[in-house]
Symmetry: C2
DNA sequence: GTTACTGCAAAGCTTTTGCATCCCT
DNA sequence: AGGGATGCAAAAGCTTTGCAGTAAC
């Protein structure tokens, strides 16, 4: 929570609820997840407010947007360098805090200015392993 | 083209055009890119057909869906293991064919069955470097 | 002749936006 | 008081789907 306040943003009850929900959150929630959770405490909260707040936080660098889950954006309040492992069945995402020190090939380095990297691991989580079934993933 | 035909799918002119366009294609096109291109040769082609064909190819494992570009899915006919570098300004994607042999941390390995991984590099491409400007990326 | 594919249009989801009102500072 | 934030509803993207007609095999 500390990291969000006093940054020039007005602290409204809705935002406070969003900040509090995100702070330390390891679930990589989607906008809808956040909306539904916030609504429990502040039923007046609208979807637009959630999206606008996420956009504000994102552009301030207080959260990052994940594109691992095709079809919906997920948000991560952990802005430090780390990677993710997503269950291809239930879309659960867990953090991989490990430094892989990736060396980009020379050809790419000379033409592009590389600004970052992100590794996505795919797999089946323990819960889904128990249930069985079929899936088809994406990169 | 060879890799797509005779797989139980009916070969219609629309599909032939899609197969031909995708074969060896390194541009990582979106469904719309494909649709617009195919339409030049087969103006009757519909968006639905493109999506349905992509779905068919995807479920047969003949193409992979990339989730690097938030907001739109991109398709890659190169189904071998490789990674990608995307320009955060123009969304251009280039291949990174290099084996990084990533070792997943033990904690993750024991709980998940890891099925794959994919590295996304982010950067500014040569064309966009010339133009200058500001951006804000996502992971 | 079957069966699968096509095209159209409608619907489904997620995300964005305009605008009047509200309320934090 | 001023300016940013809220909420509503409409709109905008992208993707999926139902269905009748059509074409590949």
């Amino acid at each position: 929570m500390k990291k969000f306040i006093n940054k020039g943003l007005k602290l409204t009850p809705q935002r406070a609820a969003i900040f509090e929900y995100l702070d330390g959150n390891k679930s990589h929630p989607s906008a809808e997840d956040i909306y539904l959770e916030i609504k429990k405490r502040y039923p007046m909260t609208s979807f637009a407010t959630v999206y606008k707040t996420l956009e504000a936080l994102k552009s301030r660098g207080d959260i990052v947007e994940l594109s691992v889950d095709p079809g919906r954006r997920r948000y991560d309040p952990d802005t430090g360098p780390h990677h993710h492992l997503m269950c291809i069945r239930c879309k659960k995402i867990v953090d991989i805090h490990k430094d892989f020190s990736l060396k980009v090939p020379e050809e790419a380095k000379v033409s592009f200015d590389i600004t970052g990297n992100h590794i996505e691991f795919y797999g089946i989580c323990p819960d889904c392993k128990k249930k069985g079934g079929v899936e088809n993933g994406s990169i």
